[in-house]
Symmetry: C2
Subunit: 380 residues, 2 copies
Amino acid sequence: MSELFNFDLEKTDGNARAGSFDTPHGHIHTPIFAPVGTQATVKAVTPAQLEEIGASLILANTYHLYLRPGEELIASFSGLHQFMNWNKPILTDSGGFQVFSLAGTRQVDDDGVNFKSHIDGSIHRFTPEKSIKIQEALGADIIMAFDECAEPKDRNYSQVAMSRTHRWLERCISTKTRSDQALFGIVQGGIFPDLRKQSAEFISKLNLPGNAIGGLSVGESKKDMHGMIEAVNAILPVDKPRYLMGVGSPEDLINGIWRGVDIFDCVLPTRLARHNAAFTPFGRINLTNTGNSSEHSPIDESCSCYTCSHFSKAYLRHLIVAKEILASTLVSIHNLNFLLQLTLQARNAVLDNRYDAFAHEFLENWHEKTENNLEVKGFE
Amino acid sequence: MSELFNFDLEKTDGNARAGSFDTPHGHIHTPIFAPVGTQATVKAVTPAQLEEIGASLILANTYHLYLRPGEELIASFSGLHQFMNWNKPILTDSGGFQVFSLAGTRQVDDDGVNFKSHIDGSIHRFTPEKSIKIQEALGADIIMAFDECAEPKDRNYSQVAMSRTHRWLERCISTKTRSDQALFGIVQGGIFPDLRKQSAEFISKLNLPGNAIGGLSVGESKKDMHGMIEAVNAILPVDKPRYLMGVGSPEDLINGIWRGVDIFDCVLPTRLARHNAAFTPFGRINLTNTGNSSEHSPIDESCSCYTCSHFSKAYLRHLIVAKEILASTLVSIHNLNFLLQLTLQARNAVLDNRYDAFAHEFLENWHEKTENNLEVKGFE
């Protein structure tokens, strides 16, 4: 492991951690939330707007970018940073999760996965080697091992998928050639503590620059999610960053940090924004509610983002009702800013030794008024 | 007329003019292009992005805002400036054009127009008095007289509509109460020089703070459009700004300025952007053309807008093909910037006494390579 990807664990407060991770495109201060730019764009938001809200690490997807526009094109721009104009750290997912969640009919064998493109039904094959080669062409700072995502409640499948994920990780490590990219391994094992422990032990031994927890937030209970994070983080090395993949509701961030997670990503803030839902310290609100139709106040009086500094709920609701694109942009800016500020506040709470109080206060406010009338499906 | 709406004619060069118009929200330097914010948003662009490209005057639509969200809501924000967060000059169209072009079945009489909402089919009535009252509630700096837009090639209808527009203008003037809004009259008369002259003479006598030319760019030939502008501008007072309504292709701007027009507005730059077409000095290009799929250069090498400074044609084409909202935003920024820069260059050419050479050079480049494969219909 190169010094480049050094993780400096600045402070712990209980299991919560504050740290700093070096990448070729700058430091990542943890805990951190990474906005998702699936197709090399964080949906409806410009890089300048992302920078304005203090985004640092962002995520892009190997599966999507391989299918469209193809990794060769992005490599011709020396990678994603130049292609999408993001000069800060980027992480690419390996395509494992998407192959198992988005693609059509698939066939898994020990060597890899055949799958059908969700775009045009064409047939493709990913192997650990192929995933790493694509990710090297995409050129992100952090790349992910190719993993198999099982049904989390199916013990037999979880065990098979975990073992395959471990063998695939070894092949990813052998394939990797670039020293300016950090490869993170992924812990699998469904909702079974013994499998999770076994997987965490396996991955820990490989001494990778960072470790991820995969296969959560896919339908299991919050109790199971928390239990798995606790089981895994009891084993993962403390001197490496821990990335909880695909997790990103405000309460999940708070609970994850409490249990020692450093990095999060999720499509939730931007997807909710395009479905007219906004985060407030008291829970999500649905901007289309008629109660907002003449409301002069912003989404969140305590928020200093561009949207809350300049626009009322009545104006945002008008944009939504009139089907104006600007609604998606403005609400995405707010929701992303909300999670970025939340992780920043969490970091400060850890540094000040008051994370417990911070987390309790946040969760008490949050659960009180959450509007549960929002169902957001589909993928980003 | 208040000193507030003073027009300072700084320089003429042939018939081309450079001037400055005072409004409660600042000076407008002419010639100027006004981006259109039909529903109180310039589509897909934030006010901050508009400011960055140097937009000053923007337009909003009485017809749309009356129907949704209603002028009372906007009045509760002290008007459009605060509602949509635009602290520079705003102009509202009267609803006349939209009632005749967008609304369903309509009945015109000397008193006003009954029309069906294009949103829900509900029945409404606009009169000159109603249009002015709505525009006073919306609170723009420049408001427009309520006019009747005839089929431009139908002489009888053009004459009837022109006479009615004149009588309605007198009623608009009587109704108007706010001294912080400038009311512009509208010259009608189809493609008939004698009617246009008659209309321009009528409007000129009323000594309004500005005058507009309506009913053009609606299907007539370029020759007819230019002839009408010449006929009208030979009569309209030189010490008042002249606004050519709904006109806004680059070549139309150049030709309009050549013939003494000061203000333009059009949905074209943003509508084209959402249909993947971008302005260059050599004509429109269609970004979806496969030739752009691996093109590292920006839309226009000579352009300094955010889009051209940071993104390649290959990236923009990828966003378009992947149906990403960001494409609309980035191409809209470029197209708006193109027209704003074009009017700024035209203004400098007038100030330097070289407008003829400037216009000839632009038009020679422009016509050479225009891609005519774009049909953009519908309304904004």
